[in-house]
Subunit: 197 residues, 2 copies
DNA sequence: TAAAAGTCTTAAACTAGTTCATTTTTTTTC
DNA sequence: GAAAAAAAATGAACTAGTTTAAGACTTTTA
């Protein structure tokens, strides 16, 4: 059977952890929804209940919350081969506090809550896939939150550029500031300072 | 069969997500090691490779790293019914950067890396258990790191007291400062300020 | 139970990052 | 491709939290 581009990408992603038969592959693909979002459009907005978890086949999105003063705090930039969504809302069916907005035209594959539950019944191997996926996320999450600690803003900026060279050029300085945890004004100062070095 | 206190606790913890037969329970327990740590003793030190993941049956421990200046940053306080360890080191077999130190005499159950792998072979249900455990950790991790954002130190202190009333009284003000992310001196100021309110 | 070690408090001088206001540059839209 | 909107740069005044230092209090240890 011929899979389309985005399906090949997600199957490769899954193949990192589990092997699927041709039939299982087709079954899995049949449980996914194709979603397109134009630049500046929202995939999710605060107050909604997260209906899907997404795999990004193409594009770039930012995941963020707004604090009491209305200032954005970006928790991740999601690009090709990443998973995104709000797992808390997806699992508990409570309203999300996140916005997910495309910063480029993007193509995603989404799994609904119903199909997610079905997946484990139909292909129990996926328990293992998600066990490993969540374990990895947890590790990188813990690493990230621990790494940033005791670094000043300049060091965090340099670390980000080093760790995500592919992302730096695809996002605005403003959004990077909202991710690093400083004001856009201070980000501007940092950049001109670092470039002068 | 009669299980001892700590075994009952861990079986209850597991029962939140999966049902085990009597035989499976015994098999599971047989894969666990009993570990006792006296107050001030280390369960883990930076440089070592994490040999176990631990369940806490009794006591209190702090998990922390030291930054370049030798200042401690506490990432969690672990008490009864919590899991702890360094999952990154446990999985990758790279040396840990963490210290885990008992702040009270403590009793733990540990699973070794070999037995962890064996567990999934012997009782595949545990894929589901860990999938759900990691999912939950991920959710609370994400929530925590997102919640703290844009709160000042006083607000973070108040939030901690509210969220972990059982822990506050069991730890020093110094350790709380190392968790909240401020100096002990500033913590002292905050507390006298909050108490005056 | 005395000494040692660690914790807490207080205060003055300091600094990384914020806030606010204005101008310039870049990107988007029609 | 001109007008509007958003992003970036720059600078001065400000503030939350740090640093350093020293004395008082508490807990641990022998």
């Amino acid at each position: 059977m011929n899979f389309k581009e985005s399906h090949i990408l997600i199957l490769n992603n899954v193949a990192r952890f589990i092997d699927l038969t041709e039939l299982e592959k087709q079954k899995y693909i049949s449980l996914l929804a194709e979603v397109k979002v134009k630049k500046k459009a929202y995939l999710m907005q605060a107050g909604e209940i997260a209906q899907y978890e997404y795999f990004i086949a193409k594009g770039c999105l930012k995941v963020y919350t707004l604090d009491e003063d209305g200032a954005p705090h970006i928790s991740m930039f999601a690009i090709e081969d990443y998973w995104t969504g709000d797992m808390a809302s997806f699992m508990t069916k409570e309203p999300t506090r996140y916005f997910i907005k495309a910063t480029e035209d993007s193509e995603l594959l989404g799994i609904s809550r119903a199909n997610y539950d079905l997946l484990f019944q139909e292909i129990p191997k996926f328990e293992r896939f998600y066990r490993k996926l969540y374990q990895r996320s947890l590790i990188s999450y813990i690493r990230r939150s621990n790494h940033g600690i005791s670094l000043d803003a300049v060091e965090r900026y340099i670390a980000f550029k080093k760790k995500y060279p592919k992302i730096v050029n695809r996002i605005t300085q403003r959004d990077l500031a909202a991710y690093i945890g400083i004001t856009p004004e201070f980000m501007s100062k940092i950049i001109s300072k670092v470039n002068r070095m």
